[in-house]
Amino acid sequence: MTKRVVIACGAGLATSTMILEKVQGILQEAGIDFSISQSQIYELDSYDGKADLFVTSMKLDETKYKTPIVVGTPFLIGVNEEEAKEKIINILSK
């Protein structure tokens, strides 16, 4: 089944674009069938429960969302990237 991933940041323009590039590569490499879109953080409510994963530029209150969230900052700064990558693959392999 196609996994639906939403990448979100404040404006849905800059940091989410940088994160999206990385996540796309990870999912392709992992052989996961996916669709990916970009949004602003305040729009996430409308995707909640419908998407399989949110990757966000900032930490959100995870208890507020049904969709699991991974913080994508490691992909911006190149620190702890492996850990975030594993989390993403784990969530989408379920």
């Binding site: 404006a11 800059a14 940091t15 674009t17 953080i41 530029s57 900032m58 930490k59 700064i77 190149g78």
Partner: protein, 153 residues
């Protein structure tokens, strides 16, 4: 050309975010690169969605607004004289920022390219070291122009 010589500032004497954003808005309005709403929009955005990034050896901020306030695609580079307090994008903790990138993005096709180049820059230790070693406006300008402008026509 993303990085223009007169949009690179070395040892800029600004004390806080407000002064920094006013300075940026003044310069960009003069060049007609942003709309009138830019000044307030960039302040508001940074407050709501901070853009401070904690790299291994340096903290940077990648400040920007929604695309509607930009008339072009440019990159403003500011090395403040003293570090400026921002908030970490990830956990909203305060961090001291030594280099500010002002992303003027209007969502054209070029904006992907500029973001990819920033992404590369942030993730390469050697590049960050070179930036830390810069000692003049000329060096900073040359460095940024080489990195960001080289594939341009």
């Amino acid at each position: 050309m993303y990085v223009e010589t007169d949009l690179v500032f070395y040892n800029l004497p600004v004390l806080d975010q407000n002064e920094l954003f006013d300075f940026m808005a003044d310069r960009l309005e003069k060049k007609d690169y942003v709309t009138e709403g830019f000044r307030d929009a960039i302040k508001k955005r940074e407050k709501e969605f901070p853009t401070g990034l904690q790299l291994q050896d340096m903290n940077v901020a990648i400040v920007h607004t929604e695309a509607m306030y930009a008339k072009t695609e440019k990159l403003v580079v500011i090395k403040p004289e003293q570090s400026i307090t921002f908030k970490n994008i990830e956990n909203l903790e305060p961090i001291e920022v030594d280099l500010v990138f002002g992303l003027i993005l209007n969502n054209s096709e070029e904006h992907l390219e500029i973001l990819q180049k920033i992404s590369q820059l942030l993730q390469q230790e050697t590049i960050i070291q070179s930036i830390l070693n810069v000692t003049s406006k000329d060096e900073l300008t040359n460095f940024m122009q080489q990195h960001f402008n080289k594939t341009n026509h």
